[in-house]
C-alpha cells in the first residue's frame, strides 16, 4: 500500500479500510495480500493510542496468523468475484463458451458456499472480517508492557470491532448500539465474545445488520418498527438471498 509519510491519519485510515473492504480496488490489485497486511498494521497503529496509553511500538503481530486471516477472509468475501472474473476472461479470450461460463456462475448458488455472491453486502463483508479476525487474533499488546492491564486481553477484539464499524460508517448511515447503558453493555459483550466465545458468520451478520442503518434510516434487513409488519407481509424474498 502506497502511503506517504505526510499522509493524514484519516487518509491512512481511508486507504487502509478500502484495502480491506472495497472490492473494486481489491479485485484490481495484484498486491492485495501485502496491502491487506499493511492495512491491518496501519489500523492497529492508529487504534492503539486512541484506546489506551500504549503506542504502536507496544504492539506485537503474529504474521502467520495475519496471513491466514487475510487468506480466509479474501477467499470468503471475494472468492466468487475472482471466479467470475476468471470465467469472464476465459469467455472473452475464447477459451470458454460464454453460455458455459454463465452456467458455471449459476451453478455456484447450488454449492454449499457461505457467501456465494460476487458482490456481498457490506454487513456480510464485515461479519466475515470479524469472524476471521476473532479466530486468528493476529495483534496483541506486548506482555512486558501490558501485564496486569485487565483490558489488554481484549485489545484485538476492540480493534476488530473498531475496524468493522468504521468501514460501515464510511459506507454512510449510522452504527447504533442503543442507549448509553445498552451501548456500554453491548460493547462489553462484543469484546468478550470476540475474545472468548465461539461465533459464526450468520450471528455476526445478524448483529451488524441490527446495528447498522443506512442514510435512509433502514437497516440492510428491515425497516423501522412501525412499518415492519406491513413490510414483512409484502416481502418478496430473493431467490438468491445470499448477497
Amino acid at each position: 500500500m502506497d502511503i506517504t509519510l505526510t499522509e493524514s491519519p484519516d487518509g491512512i485510515m481511508a486507504k487502509s479500510l478500502d484495502a480491506l473492504f472495497d472490492s473494486s480496488k481489491i479485485l484490481a490489485n495484484p498486491d492485495w495480500q501485502e496491502d491487506m497486511q499493511s492495512a491491518l498494521e496501519n489500523l492497529a497503529g492508529l487504534y492503539v493510542p486512541k484506546v489506551s496509553n500504549f503506542t504502536p511500538l507496544d504492539l506485537e503481530f503474529d504474521w502467520h496468523a495475519m496471513r491466514r486471516l487475510i487468506g480466509r477472509f479474501h477467499r470468503e468475501v471475494y472468492g466468487v468475484a475472482v471466479l467470475y472474473r476468471t470465467l469472464d476472461e476465459m469467455a472473452k479470450q475464447g477459451g470458454l463458451d460464454s453460455t458455459a461460463a454463465n452456467n458455471i456462475k449459476d451453478g455456484i448458488s447450488t454449492l454449499g458456499i457461505r457467501i456465494n455472491s460476487p458482490a456481498p453486502l457490506m454487513t456480510r463483508r464485515v461479519a466475515a472480517f470479524s469472524l476471521w479476525m476473532a479466530t486468528f487474533r493476529p495483534v496483541r499488546l506486548k506482555w512486558s508492557v501490558s501485564k496486569g492491564d485487565k483490558r489488554a486481553p481484549f485489545f484485538c477484539a476492540g480493534l476488530n470491532f473498531w475496524i468493522a464499524t468504521n468501514w460501515l460508517r464510511r459506507c454512510g448511515g449510522t452504527v447504533n448500539l442503543g442507549t448509553k447503558a445498552d451501548y456500554q453493555k453491548r460493547l462489553e459483550r462484543v469484546l468478550h465474545d470476540f475474545t472468548y466465545r465461539e461465533i459464526n458468520l450468520s450471528s455476526l451478520e445478524f448483529f451488524y445488520c441490527g446495528i447498522f442503518q443506512t442514510a435512509e434510516g433502514k437497516s440492510e434487513i428491515a425497516g423501522p418498527l412501525d412499518s415492519f409488519a406491513s413490510e414483512l407481509a409484502g416481502l418478496v424474498l430473493p431467490v438468491h438471498p445470499a448477497q
Binding site: Y84, A119, R151, G158, C171, G172, Q243
Partner: protein, 56 residues
Amino acid sequence: MPALDEVAAPFSMEEISQRVNHTSYPDGEEERQVDMEFADALAADIGALEFAENCE
C-alpha cells in the same frame, strides 16, 4: 415475482463493479471520508470500558 431465470442471471465483472448492493454505498466511491469523530469516540468508549468480573 420475477421469473427464476431473471433473478438468477449472473453478473459480469463490469456489472459487479457498477452494482449498488441494494443500499446506497457503492464500492470505490472516492468522495466518502472516514468519520474520525466516530472513530475517536468509539475507541475512547472501548478504552473506558471496565470489565465486570462476571463477564469473564
